[in-house]
Symmetry: C2
């Protein structure tokens, strides 16, 4: 392991944390997010609340200043006003602090000269003191292994996905949305303006990190293009890389500048990079989450032939269009397999070709499980996708899902090929509880779940294409 890896490994696993600027009065305030997360995650070293107003926080005396903190401090989370940030770094000098994470906004991203001066001052102080800075204008680190989190609702368990995100909001979105579908992360870094530690430092760390096998990036811009290219080449050889670039158009580039003070680069450059290194490139965070969910749960199906199974004729037709439009293939069901299905299901109201449109009655015995078994034994098929579209059913009728979710999950778990499921979420409260519960049940069965037809087709096509290219590179 490199020295750089070891330094970041220490930063990601602090033994004590000071929360500077944390509010004692407003539990819904952003700054409390960090403090509350440490408590919920049961961080097992000392934690110190620091705020000049003093007081008590969850039974802890609030120190008036960093100077009053009695013990060693490994890691500082600063939610102070921008103008005070440099002073915080100065106070950390000589206290054993490895890194300061500034959540604080109001630096280069504002475009104001005074704010830029403040950020320069932070860079200078970091170099002078050897204290590394994360941010400013970011959410910092989520590392379930070391019980460090920037959100109390994030999963407590680790997984094999590492995420580097320039945006805190997008990092939260990704962890939350992927989390509800069962996906877990090794390390997540929201790095914002990156005045010191930047995307390349974190990327190098995740490449070396044995707990990370998929690296996801949300980037608005890159500081050191040459280093970034070298690292992407290495990352793509050793791991699976998924890259979302934000700020592609004219106004988008203007927005990234104003968001994290990044220079955006043009779309063609990013597209070429992704092709060269076989990076998977989602168009937005929704697609990024879908792709991560696929990579997390689904083994390489080895091909692009799919069988689609679910209720609804019109829905089946539209789903088929979504899959074929993206180059996935639905081989026609041979007569001998159709006959096997007709042995235990009726013809009227069921379309038994590919897609398979089955009626609700198919859930009332073990018909669905038998059908999934027979269809995934068929050697023309590489993988199987089930679907459920709640808005075809009366909202009050959706409670049947709560009764049948076990049947559905077990039936698809009986697949002999890799399997995925499209579970659209009801948008009205009466049905939404049932569909969310089905989604969770499927996620617990390690089945990747998508929230729309188009989303499933897009993610599955992206991952199938990635796998094909990877096999071609390796000469498989």
């Amino acid at each position: 392991m490199s020295e750089a890896y070891k330094e970041l490994e220490r930063i990601f696993h602090p033994r004590s944390i000071a929360f500077v600027g944390v509010t004692t009065s407003n539990p819904m305030h952003w700054t409390r997010t960090f403090w509350d997360s440490a408590r919920v995650f049961n961080f097992d070293g000392p934690v110190y609340a620091v705020n000049p107003r003093g007081g008590q926080l969850d039974g802890h005396k609030v120190c008036l200043s960093l100077d009053d903190v009695p013990g060693d401090i490994d890691y500082v989370i600063g939610t102070v006003a921008a103008g005070i940030a440099p002073e915080i770094v100065r106070k950390c000098a000589g206290r054993g602090v490895k890194a300061v994470h500034f959540c604080t906004a109001g630096f280069n991203e504002t475009g104001a000269t005074e704010s830029a001066g403040l950020q320069e001052e932070l860079v200078r102080l970091s170099a002078e003191t050897g204290i590394r800075i994360i941010g400013p204008n970011c959410m910092g680190i989520y590392c379930p292994e070391s019980r460090l989190s920037f959100d109390a609702d994030f999963p407590l368990e680790s997984g094999n996905i590492g995420l580097i995100s320039q945006s805190g909001g997008n990092a939260i979105y990704i962890v939350r949305e992927a989390g509800w579908r069962g996906v877990r992360f090794s390390k997540v870094i929201s790095f914002g303006n990156a005045c010191d530690l930047n995307e390349c430092d974190f990327l190098e760390y995740l490449i070396e990190d044995p707990a990370t096998s998929v690296i996801a990036l949300y980037l608005e811009g890159v500081r050191d293009g040459a280093r970034f290219l070298r690292l992407m080449e290495r990352a793509s050889r050793e791991k699976t890389v998924v890259l979302l670039k934000g700020g592609l158009g004219e106004a988008g580039a203007r927005a990234t500048e104003s968001h994290t003070a990044s220079l955006a680069g043009n779309n063609a450059t990013w597209e070429a990079l992704c092709r060269q290194f076989n990076l998977t490139r989602p168009k937005n965070v929704e697609e990024l989450v879908d792709i991560l969910t696929t990579l997390y749960f689904m083994p390489d199906p080895g091909g692009r032939n799919v069988i689609l199974i679910g209720p609804g004729g019109g829905a089946s037709v539209l789903l088929t269009d979504e899959f074929e439009r993206r180059g996935l293939r639905l081989p026609a069901l041979p007569e001998k397999i159709r006959e096997k299905l007709l042995g235990f299901t009726q013809l009227a109201g069921n379309m038994l070709r590919n897609p398979i449109d089955y009626s609700q009655t198919m859930l009332e015995s073990d018909s669905l499980e038998r059908a999934v078994g027979i269809l995934t034994d068929w050697d023309e098929i590489d993988f199987c996708v089930g679907f459920f579209r709640p808005s075809q059913f009366p909202p009050r009728g959706l409670s049947f899902i709560l009764r049948e979710e076990g049947t559905i999950a077990n039936s698809y778990r009986a697949s002999h090929k890799p399997v995925a499921f499209i579970c659209e979420q009801a948008i009205i409260p009466e049905g939404q509880k049932a569909t969310f519960s089905l989604m969770q049940k499927l996620a617990a069965s390690k089945i990747p779940v998508y929230l729309s037809f188009a989303a499933a087709a897009e993610a599955l096509s992206a991952v199938v294409t990635y796998n094909e290219r990877r096999r071609a590179r390796r000469g498989d």
Copy 2:
């Protein structure tokens, strides 16, 4: 009005209905959908339940046969087994019945010779008796004006959108999903196998219908191409037409055959048709709903320059990408407008360019309303889009939406330009109630609501393009 129009007008406004084959035992059964809908919609003519098992249904004596129905019958809804369908038509002869709608599946769409024979028999009987047939294998008619519906949960009020759908499931999806966003329909027809009345008959009717100004179609195939072309030409001159074609690829065409026994036609043909007649062409039902919602609420903004407003820097960047990718434009905010905004809001944590990323504090006074007012006074802007992405916020924090939904709706209602809103729905039950409530509040304020960034950009771009072409055709 044509004779054909008058005939269909009578069919869409029956004075009495017989429900043949309706089950008395299972209130969740499909066949009860029709009966229950008539009750919920308070259909004001006589209704008759017919089933050889007899019994009572909601205080009505169930007739053992159509022969036992005491009064005149205008309209018959048949949910009998396919084999019995011809017998039903025979029994209707001489009873004054204008039309029989067969929900029943098991005809041409099965691909079996026997089933096709049954359908042929229906065609023959229709010609012989003069009784028109809707279907088989479909959901029939929803016409709020005449209190005829195939779903008890559909809105009771009428609107200006007419929908013709070959698929019952897709018709239900569209009415339900659009309905939750405030969209109302004049007439909806699910016509299935169309053995007698077909897409052209219904299209001609809607073209003449004064209550319909937007015509939406979900088609899997067309029987009489020449007539269809003539009607589309006329429809596109007199109304706004939105066309979704299902079954485009190889397996898709196979699926439509198996679903509604339709020949699909190729994509290039459909694309050319849409270009020629300036039809808006969504790729799926989700987009169709988004486009209908836009057309229903949003006046032609007259151009493609947009201002985007909402919380979250990363979200703002991604939303900008979605809009620019689809040819919508975000002019840069001039310094003098930026200064006006800085008069009542802070710089740190707010990106005041275009997009406008505002922090939650902006909801705590009338800041948002003032900002929307100033921004939509700016003459570079044609329309305004607000957004809210719940997954950036902790789920327990989403309750603030319930407090602030009035502020949000009022602020955007204060827009001086056409306005739309992206209200993503929380996927976990704790947050979902709040986001659904916000969506309903906005819909009640006649603001079109979209459920994702990409969906909004796609629909707005489609409608803006439609409007541009329409103006160009008219020489405006």
